[in-house]
């Protein structure tokens, strides 16, 4: 008996020792629109579509050609890409495409190492900041304007293309654009006696009051983390003062204006619209979709990327009330807010068959492939791609609705260093320090504004 017990305990202990295998490192996987720590100059605003290829290209449809492609993502994205590649092979039977794919975790290290050795896949799904980080002088990725007779570049808007021009070279085409919008759990709103989604600051304040009075202190119409607060404040300031947060590598806002922005966030806390940071941190979750309060509907709103709603929706115990909200215009000088390239697709300079690689990109994002890819990598930024995906009914309506609303609303550019990890890191980033410190009462608004402006100008001057 004794031996059996001791063996059992030893077994369990051994299992703990071994269990590191699959579970431990999993939770920290950042989102695929993760950090944009850019290293080089900002995109020059050259009109992307004008440059013509220096020579005419013809896709080789006879000789056997091998291409490689890489992407990161989850199960459904892997599956969509695989199907699209099969369709591509049917169209061009002489071209074989071998994929390599995986989860986001470690993917940037894998690709950056491969790029350093010029061993990157021929066609590569890239994060926006990689262009600045790994190819600041255009040394790793091909200028896609060279192949504009193969890829129909006119399907992308100039705004979208200009964001991918680094070192005067169109290093990638944007797969999708993304921005922030509100999502509401209308079931809770209805319990509080509110039928319509909030469309103004006053609606938010009224909702806060109604939630507190009718449902109790634990119920909040909106829950936002520290980085969400920074983005919401940027939306507010840009709308109220009508100028971009950063322009020409300089923060455009004075300390008084930032204090105003911080007081705006404070007013949301004071009016029971959002829980304070101490309240959220005490609840002990690492992202809102995993919090009990969200699952049960006590937190009834989020301010998230338009591409991210599905995990919030599926986390809800009852998701019948999950609704895309409206962007809220906080001031009268501008709409405010920004969109960004969530990911792009590039051809590496080590590619032996760039013409066929370009044909693959065109197939995936403008052609038949787009119908298969649907909204797996976000709502296609290419007009033809979106039309094909919609025709094939492969677009999640919720994501499309959110994306359309965001892109129709935002009117400010995004500084490539806005998401520098020095600023947005969730443990020691400047945004975290400022918004947590401010919410905890460690700083008053003036101190917090000063720390924020110092932090931002520090990052900007380091990259000047």
């Amino acid at each position: 008996m004794k031996k059996a017990i001791s063996l059992g305990v030893a077994a369990a202990m051994a299992a703990t020792l071994l269990a590191g295998c699959g579970t431990a490192a999993s939770s920290a996987a950042p989102s695929s629109e993760a950090a944009s720590t850019a290293d080089s100059t900002t995109a020059e605003s050259t009109a992307a579509s004008e440059a013509a290829p220096s020579e005419a290209h013809e896709i080789n449809t006879t000789d056997p050609i091998e291409l490689t492609i890489s992407w990161w993502g989850g199960d459904s994205r892997h599956e969509a890409y695989q199907k699209a590649l099969e369709a591509f092979h049917e169209k061009y039977p002489n071209i074989t495409v071998s994929p390599t794919y995986g989860a986001w975790s470690g993917w940037e290290e894998k690709q950056s190492t491969a790029l350093a050795a010029d061993q990157g896949s021929d066609v590569m799904q890239v994060n926006w900041n990689w262009l600045y980080q790994y190819s600041p002088t255009g040394e790793k990725f091909v200028d896609l304007r060279e192949y504009s007779d193969v890829i129909d570049l006119s399907q992308w808007s100039d705004t979208a293309k200009n964001a991918c021009i680094v070192a005067d070279s169109l290093q990638a085409v944007p797969i999708s654009m993304t921005g922030r919008i509100f999502y509401w759990n209308m079931n809770t709103f209805k319990q509080a006696g509110i039928e319509a989604v909030p469309t103004s600051y006053d609606d938010l304040i009224a909702a806060g009051k109604a939630f507190q009075e009718k449902l109790g202190d634990d119920y909040y119409p909106l829950a936002i983390g520290q980085y969400d607060r920074m983005i919401l404040m940027t939306f507010y300031l840009e709308s109220k003062y009508g100028k971009a947060w950063v322009e020409n590598n300089e923060c455009q806002y004075t300390e008084e204006e930032v204090v105003d922005g911080l007081n705006f966030i404070k007013s949301l806390e004071d009016n029971h619209v959002i829980p304070t940071r101490p309240t959220m941190i005490a609840a002990g979750f690492d992202s809102i979709d995993k919090s009990q309060e969200w699952i049960d509907g006590k937190y009834a709103g989020i301010f998230e990327w338009d591409s991210a709603p599905s995990k919030y929706q599926s986390a809800l115990a009852d998701n019948s009330g999950f609704t895309v909200g409206e962007e809220i215009k906080f001031g009268d000088k501008a709409n405010g807010g920004f969109s960004k390239v969530s990911m792009g697709m590039a051809i590496t300079k080590s590619c032996q068959h760039p013409v066929e690689a370009a044909a693959l990109i065109d197939f995936l994002w403008n052609g038949e492939g787009a119908a298969i890819m649907g909204s797996e990598c976000g709502i296609p930024a290419s007009t033809a791609g979106l039309a094909a995906a919609q025709a094939a009914d492969a677009v999640k309506p919720l994501v499309l609705e959110a994306n359309t609303k965001v892109l129709a609303f935002v009117d400010m550019p995004l500084d490539p260093y806005y998401e520098s990890s020095k600023l947005k890191d969730t443990t020691d980033g400047v945004y975290t320090d400022v918004f947590d410190g401010f919410s905890y009462g460690d700083y008053d608004a003036e101190e917090a504004a000063e720390i924020l402006l110092d932090g931002v100008s520090g990052v900007l001057s380091a990259n000047a």
């Binding site: 299992a15 996987a29 986001w104 050795a117």
Partner: protein, 286 residues
């Protein structure tokens, strides 16, 4: 009488504390097993390991997902062990030879070389990634179907930790034994495998087990050097579907992790006696 009561109370508290701490230590693992039967919402709902609506879907998904025929859990197992086994064998052999050299022979520069070797113990793998990648790339080993970059280096005693451990252990084996064997006509090679290796066996098992565990769990190595999905090992396979953006079913990931450690558990128990000997022998004699 009194003494015996006091003794019993003492015992009670000793065991009480031990059991309490033991339960706290083991609970996450028990929870993980319980969580494989839960839905996502339940997983985040609380720390209880029992579930109201148990589902086997996690296990079913874990064994049926095959990424369009590219890679399945069974394929991933075979892939893993096809480089882990050579890696373990070569690590043990090469480390013993290197340790034998350092502990039994006096040669010029030995202490300096030993110092250099120990200093590599503190070198984080991450700084080696790019230079190693460039080197293996020049050999044409990237995406090698035989996983060459993953196991060939272990032929050269690159696992400093094990060399160091074995050197320490060999120092505790009296030189008299070597000398006696030499008088009986053994050469240096024969001394190693007839006299020293058998005495080292618990320690060798420990090295082998550690290397086995580390290699099975290694994620970055295969991620860097394996490109073809059908060659992915278990560590990558487990994570393939973990996309923070779209969300995923945790029960499947946990079930997959649990299945993936079963072979390691089996190996551990087969070697358990020798392994525990190895650790304690080192502790007493070191």
């Amino acid at each position: 009488m009194k003494l015996s009561t006091a003794h019993k109370i003492g015992r009670f508290f000793q065991y009480f504390v031990l059991i309490l701490v033991g339960v706290i230590m083991i609970y996450p693992l028990v929870w993980m097993v319980g969580a494989t039967f839960k839905s996502n919402a339940e997983i985040f709902a609380g720390i209880g390991f029992l579930t109201a609506n148990p589902t086997l879907q996690g296990y079913i998904d874990a064994v049926t997902q095959n990424y369009g025929g590219d890679i399945s859990i069974w394929r991933a197992f075979i892939n893993t062990y096809s480089f882990v086994i050579p890696k373990v064998i070569f690590t043990v052999i090469s480390s013993v030879i290197a340790a034998y050299g350092f502990s039994r022979f006096k040669f010029k520069g030995r202490d300096m070389l030993f110092g250099i070797m120990i200093s590599t113990l503190f070198l984080p793998q991450v700084v080696l990634n790019v230079p190693q990648y460039l080197m293996y790339n020049s050999f044409g080993w990237i995406n090698s179907p035989f996983y060459l970059p993953l196991w060939v280096p272990t032929l050269f005693a690159t696992e400093t930790y094990f060399v160091y451990q074995l050197v320490q252990f060999m120092r505790s084996i009296p030189h008299d034994l070597d000398e006696a064997a030499a008088i009986d006509g053994c050469g240096p090679v024969k001394i190693l495998y007839k006299i020293i290796a058998p005495m080292l066996s618990p320690s060798l098992v420990a090295c082998g087990l550690f290397q086995f565990m580390w290699s099975c769990n290694d994620y970055m190595g295969p991620l860097l050097y394996v490109q073809t999905p059908s060659k992915y090992p278990m560590s990558i396979f487990v994570k393939l579907s973990m996309d923070a953006d779209s969300g995923f079913n945790w029960n499947r990931i946990l079930a997959l992790s649990l299945i993936s450690i079963i072979p390691q558990l089996v190996v551990f128990f087969c070697a358990q006696d020798a392994f525990i000997d190895g650790i304690s022998a080192g502790a007493v004699k070191g």
